[in-house]
Symmetry: C2
Subunit: 347 residues, 2 copies
């Protein structure tokens, strides 16, 4: 069987209609709503073919057809025309972060919110993989006798802090001294580049504060890159409640409990085969069991040719692909631009 022009048009009609109505669509509906110049009977025949080819399926004998995963796949690969955004939407994306926003965290936050609002699905935004980010400032503050706070500011605007135990006899002057050595040695360095040799140098200079240094180094090497550099911003989680496919609470539970598990969410965004541009995962193409009847549309963002991370939208397979692809694409490149502006000169 071959995929001719008319079959394509019918498949397109079925998918569009189903995305719109969430109801199985029958031959008469198509002949009525879409002017294809052929009768319902002809469409019926073609639909039988399309079903044989695996692009559509029937929930039950006397129902209309719904697109299969394969059908969606053919649609996004061959049939779909990206939706144009309205002026207003374009503007929302372009001015989503005015010049005022200078912090990477805030930018990612807004990106998520905007993605969720524009699509009405759930938005996922991965923090940039910050092999690239460098230490801007380190500060040790004495909080109480035996307690100090370590604050590390990265050039991305990310601020990490943690309270650590220190010997009772350490004073704020001691801490200032350590701070300034740490700053002198580590400023402008990436976390990854802080190697043993460098730490030894610092040890040498600050021999008498060896033990507190241990704590500081440990914190910066372990805690900071792992905890903060790999966060996922989730927005619009409750948007899924508006989708008819999630009208029963059990399905909601499955999805929400997945989204609660941060490591699984990370996996979702860490698909290996993501090149540049927009990637679409339809239904069973997703590796995670729990979202096998969802689709994910993701795109990477980057500075220059260095890929920093991924943003994405999660919705039911009956997702408005034409629109979401445009939004995700547009937002990812806008995010790239914005980050470039913020981090400009620090690459």
């Amino acid at each position: 069987m071959k995929m001719d022009e008319r079959k394509q048009q019918i498949l397109l009609a079925i998918i569009k209609d189903y995305i719109d109505t969430a109801e199985p669509v029958g031959s008469r509906t198509i002949s009525r709503r879409y002017k294809l110049g052929v009768s319902a009977a002809t469409i019926r025949n073609e639909m039988a073919d399309l079903e044989d080819m695996g692009f559509i399926e029937q929930p039950h004998t006397s129902a209309g057809r719904i697109p299969s995963n394969l059908g969606y796949r053919y649609y996004v690969d061959c049939l779909m025309q990206r939706e144009q955004l309205t002026e207003e939407e374009e503007g929302a994306i372009r001015h989503g972060y005015e010049d005022k926003v200078r912090e990477v965290g805030e930018v990612l936050n807004r990106t998520g919110r905007l993605l969720a609002n524009l699509t009405n699905y759930t938005a996922l935004v991965q923090t940039p993989r910050m092999g690239i980010s460098t230490v801007k400032h380190i500060q040790l503050v004495l909080m109480a006798s035996g307690q100090a706070m370590i604050i590390v500011v990265m050039d991305t605007g990310a601020v990490n802090h943690q309270i650590v135990s220190i010997p009772e006899n350490i004073t704020q002057q001691d801490l200032d001294q350590i701070s300034s050595v740490l700053n002198a040695k580590l400023q402008g360095r990436t976390m990854g580049s802080i190697r043993l040799t460098l730490i030894k140098e610092i040890y040498f200079e600050l021999a008498k504060h060896r033990n507190i240094l241990d704590l500081a180094i440990e914190l910066m090497k372990d805690q900071i890159p792992s905890v903060k550099e790999d966060k996922i911003y989730l927005e619009g989680v409750f948007n899924i409640l508006n989708q008819p496919e999630f009208h029963n609470v059990d399905k909601v539970k499955v999805l929400l409990s997945l989204l609660e598990q941060e490591d699984k969410v990370k996996d979702i965004l860490k698909q290996p085969n993501q090149g540049l541009g927009v990637t679409i995962k339809i239904g069973s193409e997703n590796s995670q069991q729990e979202i096998q009847d969802c689709s994910m549309i993701t795109a990477t963002y980057q500075i220059g040719d260095k890929i920093l991370g991924t943003i994405g939208v999660l919705g039911p397979t009956r997702m408005d692909y034409a629109r979401v692809v445009t939004v995700v694409d547009s937002m990812s490149s806008n995010l790239s631009r914005t980050l470039e502006r913020i981090l400009k000169g620090n690459g």
Copy 2:
């Protein structure tokens, strides 16, 4: 009509059973399950009385009875015996924050998680009203030409930061100078006590950096107290999905969209008549429309006799009051103790 011993026992049985099963409970069920030594017919008569008195009601004529709000109220006031926690649970609360946790934020976080886990409802934890907290350290860091980050560390361990625009010609040395004046003048002060006279003093000392000072002051006065000092930690939001009363998605939506509105959530915890100890709000006793079929159990936490904030649990009116009251009470006093330890000597 008077509330005699037997009526109480029957009311108690009805409430316990309903809390357990979420099904209306009939006279036969009670005579079978609870050994009251009287027949179902007698219980029926008593139930009719209880209904007249407004303690129970019938969803429809041929159904059993369910407790009314008034019934729950009588129960928690007169009948309920607090549930004993198991050794294990006691331990979880007591060791919930080991000595390592020294940051107020982290403590509140864990409090919320533990509350939600122990009760299986939704936990709300209000950050301490920090009229009491004082500035520990202020740091200005030059991020790029024309951009600086202000970092304010409070003695509670809270860290606030924000990037602000500054004149292009300001150097890190300038910022250090400003930082040290700010520290000298503001350290140990509460946000509330930073008055105009003090700011004028600083102006005087730093006349040449007037404009950047404006920014710093503005940030500290406006942004920090409002944004960070009044956060609500929400945990276990999805626990409500396990309650049969939330098996339909529309009710879930109502509640979730309430919980998304931070100001409304704040109002929920800011009930005026909260003295010390545990407060219970049942159904319509709640002021917020959206939780009129929920109950809230709250308790304040304090240092000395200064009330700092409130923690609470939100669940359906058919809530396990006996257990939740114990948990909330126990956790609030534990929270008080822990905060006292952390903030000891800074009050």
